[in-house]
Symmetry: C2
Subunit: 127 residues, 2 copies
């Protein structure tokens, strides 16, 4: 959540395009687990975990509709799992690994490892 300290001042140009995020201390375990409990969202998180930087939404070719994809990214953002920021016309995404590791040490890694193990057992068609 971004607080506006000078509400009467002229809005910076980016305000209309900034996206709401929970602060680190607002992130809740139950929300993180909820965000990760959906296979498409897990796929996004696994891909982001392999990338040191940001990825545009457009690089994720999920087998769901564009509006469903947008929904999944919003859930990940609102639950504190990813940061989303507009850069020009692109919405860029990055895993909030530092925040999650600070709040819940080892959790993200064990979830990612579990997802990899399950994929190994079941096969899978991650893009």
């Amino acid at each position: 959540m971004q607080t506006q300290t000078t509400p009467t001042a002229p809005q910076p140009q980016t305000t209309g395009r900034s996206l709401e995020h929970p602060r680190r201390e607002e992130i809740r375990l139950e929300d993180v687990l909820h965000a990760l409990s959906e296979p498409m969202r897990m796929r996004v998180v696994r891909t982001l975990a392999e990338e040191p930087g940001e990825l545009s939404c457009s690089v994720f070719d999920l087998p769901v509709s564009k509006s469903t994809t947008t929904h999944h990214f919003r859930v990940l953002r609102e639950c504190g799992v990813i940061n989303q920021i507009y850069r020009g016309t692109a919405k860029m995404n990055a895993l909030r690994r530092d925040d999650l590791d600070a709040l819940f040490p080892g959790l993200l890694d064990s979830v990612l490892a579990a997802a990899a193990l399950q994929e190994g057992r079941l096969g899978g068609d991650r893009g």
Copy 2:
């Protein structure tokens, strides 16, 4: 899932009271995370994790209705997180730690640790 190999044979007395469980290999990470993403269910799992044996449903005094409590236990069972068995008139519950640790090493422990950390940060009133 318990398959009935002799569907035309007389039903054993316990059939009507046995409860369906996924076999170990049917347990899915996304279902486990979903089961754990609800605070009342997490509370049940944390309590069961502290107990080496089974606990009756009646020992869990959750601040929700009886039907909601029953629902939460069913979700935990159907997602492969707990075993439920009738013993006389009591429904007994146990964590499927062996199955979860075999499928997803370290996951349950990291979730339990994360829940304890969050409780420490936020306070909490686990019964």
